[in-house]
């Protein structure tokens, strides 16, 4: 927390200004009961000269000082809100920037949902608490200190101070006891709130399945259980927190009563030194002091939650991307080899079993290479390594004869475009979605890419054509349509290397065929890397690599593999169901 403040100079300055202004604010606040004391004294005094004028004067003073205190207070609020909001907007922007720069591994370690919470909810909590902290940090302690010193300077009797001290101790103890009961439950409540949310979401996600199996009651029972648990906990916490009001009332009342009663005895004993008006002023100061303590307690109670949030935010900010990223660009040279995997062995971070073992292959410029194999055979991992999302533990990957660890990521991504397995569209216009990698694409380029990916027709049928907005999560286009738009997105960059990672799973065979031939005519000389489970999607490739458990078990053209590689043969026949069509 303290570190966080010191890192932000503007916060530090705000604290200095606010602490200075708070002194004035408290001075004004103290004047109010003091003037009230004067009024009582005047009224009570036997000499009644210029009485009315004095009362009027002091009342005006009261109003003025309360006005002055609110003005100072408002200025403080403004400074505090401004400083904390500015500081946290900056943190939010930095956090977002950081996340965008991280590698896939680090993102997965945090989890997208957690990163989103850190960017939004955590920062919001820190923000609003920082405002309160800046505003009240000095107010509470200064109020307590000021009120205490006032009481002492005024020569207040120790018995009265003792009453106030006892009240403060009782207040703190009862709040502490409450906190011991309530604080651990807060986290539970939050958890149960999430549970209610999850169970409801689960139910809505599986609506059709639940209805198909007549399992409405089954799910509803689970909901009721969680709902009940949540209700019980919430009730407990509310009840304990609700006690604060009566306890405060009781303590304030008891303080007033005790001071009045003890005051009576003291007045009697003092033989005229102590006056009633002084007792009345002391009561007012006593309640000021109590309110100061309440502020302090509230501030203290906020600190643990804030520190957790700050820690979570800092975790992300302090993470460094662990991929090598040099400043050298990939040179365009005349190397005939586009991609080379040289004896690659790779294990995902956190795992002990290698997913790829001794993989070696080369792809010449303009060639098509394809990977086939069952789930978990390592096909997508090859794509992940080629795109430098991960780095292999052993072996080198060369592009245009240059090690990809020794070139900049930017230049790598200028050469390679890819279509991910799971298509993703932004909540944005179709144009912006397709032009992700090439924001300044001409309309002609856009049209060519759309036609080639077989998207032109359906895009044109949409109301806004290329400016139609894709709804969140791509809900207004079908799975096949979004896959085609993702293909367009890769094609428009006119890359040297095109990577298709199982990108046809939602497309029927006819469409795939059309896309292939359009790529061949419109984007000549592209080196293609195709990953697929369908034999039909890859049988035309120049080189097909069959993977099993991370090893290459067959390599060659379709006809050769069909004869020599048993796994490939099984794949092919099981999919097509007839041998004649293939051989």
């Amino acid at each position: 927390m303290i570190k966080f403040v010191f890192k932000n100079k503007s916060l530090l300055i705000a604290i200095l200004i606010i602490s200075f202004l708070t002194l004035f604010q408290i001075a004004f606040e103290f004047l109010i009961p003091t003037f009230m004391g004067y009024i009582i004294q005047i009224v009570n005094s036997p000499s009644r000269q210029s009485l009315l004028n004095d009362i009027l004067l002091y009342s005006l003073f009261i109003l003025l000082s309360s006005f002055a205190s609110i003005i100072v207070n408002l200025i403080n609020s403004w400074i505090a809100s401004r400083a904390s909001t500015n500081a946290l907007a900056k943190v939010r922007s930095n956090l977002h920037k950081k996340v965008l720069s991280l590698s896939l591994n680090e993102i997965n370690n945090f989890g997208v949902e957690s990163l989103v919470t850190r960017t939004t909810e955590d920062i919001r909590i820190v923000g609003s608490i920082t405002t309160v902290l800046l505003h009240d940090l000095f107010h509470g302690p200064l109020l307590v200190l000021g009120a205490l010193s006032f009481l002492i300077i005024e020569g207040c009797h120790y018995q009265l101070v003792l009453v106030i001290v006892i009240a403060v101790v009782v207040l703190i103890t009862s709040i502490m006891i409450g906190a011991i009961f309530v604080l651990p439950r807060f986290r539970i409540i939050e958890q149960q709130m999430d549970d209610i949310n999850n169970i409801s979401k689960e139910k809505l996600d599986g609506l059709r399945t639940i209805r198909a199996y007549n399992a409405e009651m089954y799910q509803e029972t689970k909901f009721r259980k969680t709902n009940h648990k949540f209700t019980m906990n919430n009730r407990f916490v509310n009840r304990v927190l609700g006690m604060l009001t009566p306890v405060l009332q009781l303590i304030t009342g008891a303080v007033t009563l005790s001071i009045t009663l003890i005051g009576a005895i003291l007045i009697k004993d003092s033989q005229g030194d102590l006056r009633y008006d002084q007792i009345a002023v002391i009561i007012q100061f006593g309640s000021l002091l109590l309110s100061g303590f309440i502020t302090i307690i509230i501030v203290i109670a906020m600190i643990p939650q804030t520190s957790i949030c700050i820690k979570r935010i800092n975790e992300v900010l302090e993470t460094e991307m662990k991929l090598s990223n040099s400043n050298n660009d990939i040179e365009d040279n005349n190397s005939p080899v586009s991609i080379k995997f040289d004896n690659i062995t790779f294990t995902y971070p956190g795992s002990t079993v290698p997913v790829l073992k001794n993989i070696t292959f080369t792809v010449k410029k303009g060639e098509t290479i394809a990977f086939i194999g069952s789930t978990g055979s390592g096909k997508t991992t090859i794509v992940n390594l080629l795109l430098h999302f991960f780095e292999p533990q052993k072996g080198n990957i060369l592009i245009n004869n240059q090690n990809i660890n020794e070139v900049s990521l930017n230049s790598l991504y200028e050469k390679i475009s890819w279509v991910p397995q799971k298509s993703f569209l932004f909540h944005d216009s179709i144009k912006n979605n397709v032009c992700l990698g090439k924001p300044n694409a001409t309309n002609a380029e856009l049209k060519t890419a759309l036609i080639a990916s077989q998207s032109f027709e359906f895009v044109n049928r949409m109301k806004g054509k290329i400016n139609s907005t894709i709804s969140r999560g791509g809900k207004n286009v079908s799975g096949g349509q979004s896959q085609r738009l993702c293909i367009a997105r890769a094609l428009i960059c006119n890359p040297e290397i095109l990577v298709l990672d199982d990108s046809f799973s939602s497309l029927d065979y006819l469409t795939v065929k059309k896309i292939y031939s359009a790529i061949d005519t419109n984007y000549k000389n592209i080196t293609k890397v195709i990953v697929s489970q369908r034999v039909s999607a890859i049988m035309r490739a120049d080189n097909i690599i069959v993977l099993e458990n991370g090893r290459i078990i067959g390599q060659g053209k379709h006809r050769e593999l069909f004869k020599t590689c048993k796994t490939y043969y099984n794949f092919a026949t099981s999919q097509v169901g007839s041998v004649e069509l293939l051989s």
């Binding site: 009342s59 500015n86 996340v99 209805r211 006690m243 009563l257 789930t375 930017n410 799973s505 999607a537």
Partner: protein, 592 residues
């Protein structure tokens, strides 16, 4: 009708009317708690009066000719103490009861909402966002039950404190009472004005925060895409634009929020000043007896007591917009048209054979043209029906009609000669085992996920089925049948699909629906479970939607759909010889 309702819908009374049915079962508790609150406030109101008596005794004693009457001081002291304790105990009891009531009401509203989900037709969910419904259950309910707390607490006690204080001030002197009474509406107006501003700003802020959430969610989901298409800087800029908007709104929202209590305090001090000024002035004018001087102190504490109820009222007023909006949302959701209750339909098929007949079925989704036109077909017992076509051709629509997720517009679907609409829809659904394209597992053990709501399935059956569907191996690898799973557990799409197949198998229903049931299973595993599926389908009438045409070559009837219409029907060989859409789709597999 609508016009008559309109004037009320923007008012707090709308919220109250919505809450009334929830409140009425707790009439007794509410009555008790309000009575307790009443006693507590009356006791609190009396305290300054008793303190005043003590002060008076002190002042009298300090006058030159005064004497100390400690017996009286002791007596008033004890009365004050008794009042303090009474107020405390009653307030504690009231708090206890009120939170009991409001938590029960919150619970009831959440249950009602959740149950409503079971009663609405599927079409409702196809046209509404899940996030919206979730926020009803969480956000709106929380807001309503917390504002209910405030309402119940202050129903009597605040009014009593507010008016009691003013009346007592009137009794002290009419001028004091009147001036405080006049300044109250002013204070209330300013406070609720500022309060409303705060809430509006907070709503703006909330909207921007949710924008930021959505934006960062999208950016982080697609982080690897943004990075690998070298678009990082552009997306950072886009984010910063929203962030800057949020910053500007937040400053003001935070500022207003922080200013609320100072402004309230100022009004406290304002009333304080008026009381000091007036009472001092009055005493000055007419001479000060000890009673009058003690009155100043008492009046000051009454002035201070006014602040708390003011705050409570301000809270309600400033939140009223949100409270009304929440109750509007909830009441309109709870009033959504439900599926027609069919508990009285008890018609059942006596002996299930497995015939399905479509008679001139016409169907179109709401406000859209018919996607199924005059469809008639007879499906015989034990037949395997395949539905094929391009993506988005409307294949799932037929399934929706069969399962009665939607009802036909005209014509009928008959199972063994009985119109499905004459049977209870739950009964119709119980006839089908079904694996959907959108696979689904819930948080629970593997065992629970497979057995699901059907208690008749034994553990042994589950083991057997899991072996047949090739789930057994990965279930054991992941920690056994009693291992808890959820959709975040790290099961692959293919594995989840296998679990869904196992679940459908366990039901052992006479009809079977497989909607792209193996689309995410790799080809090799698919061939393995195909065997199990064939076993499962034996003797059962089954409907299959598939992309990979190899799996449906032996179907008894293939329906080829295009743009929502059935364009070809027949067996594999017939359709191939027709050389139409089916043949085109089929041959496309081989020659790319």
């Amino acid at each position: 009708m609508k016009a008559r309702q309109k004037p009320n819908t923007n008012h707090l009374s709308f919220a109250l009317r919505f809450l009334l049915p929830y409140l009425s079962p707790h009439k007794f508790s509410i009555f008790i708690s309000s009575t307790l609150g009443l006693f507590s406030s009356v006791a609190s109101l009396c305290i300054p009066l008793t303190i005043k008596e003590i002060s008076k005794l002190i002042i009298v004693a300090t006058r030159p000719d005064g004497t100390w009457n400690f017996d009286a001081i002791k007596m008033w002291g004890s009365i004050t103490l008794a009042l303090l304790l009474t107020a405390f105990i009653f307030c504690v009891m009231q708090t206890y009861i009120v939170y009991g009531v409001t938590s029960k009401i919150g619970n009831k509203i959440r249950s009602d909402l959740s149950q409503k989900n079971d009663l609405l037709p599927i079409s409702y969910f196809d046209n509404h966002d899940i996030g919206e419904i979730l926020s009803y259950i969480i956000n709106d309910t929380n807001l309503l039950s917390s504002s209910l707390d405030i309402i119940l607490f202050n129903l009597y006690s605040t009014t009593i404190t507010l008016f009691g204080s003013v009346i007592i001030l009137f009794l002290f002197h009419w001028a004091i009472g009147l001036s405080v009474l006049l300044s109250l509406p002013l204070a209330l107006a300013v406070v609720s004005f500022v309060g409303k501003k705060i809430v509006n700003r907070f709503c703006d802020e909330q909207l921007l925060i949710s924008n930021i959430t959505i934006k960062s969610e999208e950016d982080y989901d697609a982080q690897i895409l943004i990075k690998s298409f070298n678009a990082t800087e552009r997306y950072q800029k886009k984010f910063d634009i929203v962030n800057e908007k949020l910053r500007k709104t937040s400053i003001i929202a935070e500022f207003l929020n922080e200013s609320f209590s100072p402004i309230l305090n100022f009004f406290g001090n304002f009333i304080f000043t008026i009381i000091c000024l007036l009472s001092g002035y009055l005493i000055g004018m007419y001479g000060g007896s000890p009673d009058d001087i003690a009155t100043i102190v008492a009046a000051v504490s009454y002035g201070a007591q006014l602040i708390a109820p003011l705050l409570a009222f301000a809270q309600i007023f400033s939140n009223s917009g949100r409270i009304v909006a929440s109750s509007k949302r909830l009441s309109s959701f709870l009033n959504e048209k439900e599926e027609i209750d069919e508990t009285n339909k008890t018609l059942k098929i006596k002996k299930i054979e497995g015939k399905v007949t479509f008679n001139n079925v016409n169907f179109g989704y709401k406000n859209k043209k018919n996607v199924i036109v005059n469809f008639s077909e007879k499906v015989l017992k034990g037949q395997k029906i395949a539905i094929v076509g391009h993506t988005g051709a409307g294949k799932t629509t037929l399934i929706n009609l069969l399962m009665r997720f939607y009802d036909v517009n005209s014509g009928s679907i008959e199972i063994d000669g009985i119109n499905t609409r004459d049977m209870n829809r739950k009964y119709v659904r119980s006839l089908f085992g079904m694996v959907l394209q959108d696979t689904w597992v819930f948080e629970g053990t593997f065992m629970e996920n497979i057995k699901f709501a059907n208690k008749k399935i034994t553990d042994e059956t589950v083991y057997k089925i899991c072996k047949a569907t090739h789930c057994d191996q990965f279930i054991k690898q992941m920690g056994g049948y009693n291992k808890k799973i959820s959709n975040k557990t790290g099961l692959s799409l293919g594995q989840i699909q296998l679990l869904n197949i196992a679940r459908a198998m366990a039901q052992n229903a006479p009809f079977l629906i497989l909607d792209e049931a193996t689309s995410n299973v790799d080809v090799y595993t698919e061939t393995l479970i195909q065997e199990a599926l064939d076993k499962l389908m034996k003797g059962k009438t089954s409907f299959i939607i598939a992309h990979r045409l190899s799996t449906i070559r032996n179907a008894d009837l293939i329906l080829v759909m295009k743009d929502g219409k059935i364009v070809e029907t027949g067996r594999h060989a017939e359709l191939l010889s027709k050389n139409g859409l089916y043949a085109e789709l089929y041959y496309a597999q081989f020659c790319l």
